[in-house]
Symmetry: C2
Subunit: 307 residues, 2 copies
C-alpha cells in the first residue's frame, strides 16, 4: 500500500488567506523553517500505481491531483481515482467534490449522516446530478469493513472501516441538525493482499476505547494534529474558541494526544490536519523536537509512506 | 488602475483533472508551448497597492491569493481584498467564496439573480452566516455604475457597472429557475480619478448592441475566450455540446468574436476564461498567431495590465 499526502493542513491551509500570525507571515516571507501546506487530502493505492482512493476531498483538489502524476488521466476522459472516502462534512473535507464535476462518474464512501449533510438542501450539489449515476454513494456503517470499489464495481484491493471518533457536525450544520455519532469518523484502510492497515483519524475530540482500538497494531497512524494547545487561537488573539470546542484534542499537555497515545503500539505515527498556528509546523521548534522524540512525524504535502 | 490576472482558464482549469486531450497531456508533459492556468479570477486596484477588488472568486482562490503578495494580510487577521464582484453563478466563478470563510467580513457585488442563485437552497452558504454582517451583498443593477466600497464603506476608487451579456443560468440551476437577463453579466470597472475603464466580459453568448457599447472606447477589454470553434468539444470526442449551447461565442469563424469585434475601438484586448481544449493556448499554434495578428492577447496567470 502506498500512501501519498496531497495536503496536510487543517481548514484554511498554511498559510491561511487572511492570517498574519507569526507562522503564516514567516512561511510567506521564508523567515521560518516550515513549508506551505494545502488542506488535508491523502491518496492511497494498494499497488502504488492504479486505483487510487482519496481520503477526503479538499477545496484544492485540482492542484493536488496535478501535483502527483499517478493521479493524471490515461485517456481523453479518465481518472485513476477509483473512489473518495469522506470522514466528515467539514468543507475542507468535502468542497472539492464540487470541483470534480466534469461529467465524470464518482464513487463516494461516507456515513449516512455525512452523505445527508452534503447532499440535502445543497443546490450546488445538482452539478453532480447531471446524469444518472454520476455519483454512487456507498454508505459506511460503523465497524463494518467493506471493499472499496470503483464506479464499475471493480475492487481496489482495499477495504475501509469507519471508526466512531468523538467529533461534531460541520460548522454550517451546527444549528441545522442534532449531533450524531456518525457526523465524524475515522477510517481504517486495509490492504486485502497483505493485511496491512492504515488508521486514518484526522479529526478526534477525545481518545475513547474505540479510537485506541483502531490505532493499536496499525502499520501507520495518521492522527489529528490540528492544535498544539487548547488555547492556541485565543492566546494569539485569533479567535475565542478552545481546541476542544472545535472538536480537536490538542497534541500537547498532560491530556494531549502525544501523552495519551504514548503507550499505544503502532507503526508509523503521523500528525495531519495541522492548523497554520501550530508551532510544530516549524521544523526547528521545541514543539517539533518533542513530537519527533516521541516517535511522531508531522505530515507534509508530498510525503509518502509505503506499507 | 492595475489589473492582475490570478486565473485565466475556464471551469476545470488547464489542465483539467480528468482530461487527457492533446493540450492537457501536452502541458502536463511539457511537450507543448503552453503554460498551466488556474480558473478565471482577476484582481483590480485603483492605486495598484491596496483595496483590491476581485472579479469572480474561483475554487482555487487560496493559491491565487498566495500567488500575489499585494493580496497578503498586513495584520494578524486582515486582507487587502476590499470587495468581490461576481459576473454569474457558475461554480468556477463563485465556489471560492466558501473558501473565504474564516470569520472575515466580505463585500460581494452581484445581480439579484446571482445572489439568489448562490444563497438560496444552499446549506453550505451558512458557513458565511456565522455572525451578523459576515457578507454584505451589494446588488448591481444593469446599467447603473456604483462605487465599489469595502465592508466598512470605504471607497476603493473604482466603480462597477453591470452590462447585460447574453448568457444562461449556471448548470446546477438550469432546471431550477427561468432564465433572466441578470443571470450573467459583464462589468465595466472605472477608475474614478482617471476615468480609465476596464470592460470585463468573460462569458458572452452573442454580441449585442449592449456588448458592443460596453467595449467601445474601453482602455482594456477582457473577453470570453472559452472556445476557438463551435464544435471544439464534439470534434475531440469530449462532449456533445456546441460552444453556443454553453453560452460561449467562439473566437474563430465568420461569426466568431475575432471577426465581429474587429471594428470595435478599444485599447488592450485580451481573451480570458480559456478552455483547456482551445488551440490558442499553444503559443506556437496558427490559432494563436491569428489572434495576435488581430491585436489580441491571451491572458495567462500572472499577467498584469496597467491603465
Amino acid at each position: 500500500m502506498l500512501i501519498r499526502v496531497l495536503g496536510s493542513a487543517a481548514g484554511g491551509g498554511f498559510p491561511q488567506w487572511n492570517c498574519g500570525c507569526p507562522n503564516c507571515r514567516g512561511v510567506r516571507g521564508g523567515s521560518i523553517r516550515a513549508s506551505a501546506r494545502t488542506q488535508e487530502c491523502v491518496a492511497v493505492s494498494a499497488d502504488g500505481e492504479s486505483a487510487w482512493v482519496l481520503l477526503n476531498c479538499s477545496p484544492e483538489i485540482r492542484s493536488q491531483i496535478e501535483s502527483f502524476p499517478p493521479l493524471h488521466p490515461r485517456g481523453p476522459r479518465d481518472s485513476p481515482i477509483a473512489a473518495i472516502v469522506l470522514t466528515n462534512g467539514d468543507l475542507d473535507h468535502c468542497l472539492g467534490l464540487l470541483s470534480l464535476r466534469e461529467s465524470h462518474r464518482l464513487t463516494v464512501y461516507a456515513t449516512d449522516a455525512v452523505q445527508r449533510g452534503f447532499t440535502r438542501g445543497n443546490v450546488l450539489y445538482r452539478t453532480l446530478e447531471r446524469f444518472p449515476g454520476q455519483v454512487t454513494w456507498r454508505l459506511m456503517k460503523i465497524g463494518c469493513a467493506e471493499a472499496i470499489v470503483d464506479a464499475d464495481g471493480r475492487p481496489t484491493g482495499l477495504t475501509a472501516e469507519a471508526i466512531v471518533t468523538p467529533g461534531k457536525p460541520p460548522v454550517h450544520l451546527e444549528e441545522q441538525k442534532s449531533p450524531e455519532p456518525e457526523d465524524s469518523v475515522g477510517v481504517c484502510v486495509r490492504e486485502v493482499r497483505t493485511g496491512r492497515v492504515l488508521a486514518y483519524l484526522s479529526g478526534v475530540a477525545s481518545i475513547t476505547d474505540d479510537v485506541r482500538r483502531a490505532l493499536t497494531g496499525a502499520d501507520a497512524v495518521f492522527f489529528d494534529g490540528t492544535f498544539w494547545s487548547s488555547d492556541e487561537l485565543p492566546a494569539q488573539g485569533l479567535g475565542s474558541k478552545r481546541a476542544e470546542q472545535m472538536a480537536h484534542l490538542p497534541v500537547a499537555g498532560p491530556n494531549g494526544s502525544l501523552a495519551q497515545l504514548a503507550g499505544v503500539r503502532a507503526g508509523r505515527r503521523i500528525y495531519i490536519h495541522v492548523n497554520n498556528t501550530n508551532p510544530m509546523l516549524r521544523e526547528d521548534s521545541s514543539e517539533r523536537a518533542a513530537v519527533t522524540a516521541a516517535g511522531w512525524d508531522v505530515a507534509w504535502d508530498g510525503m509518502e509512506v509505503r506499507l
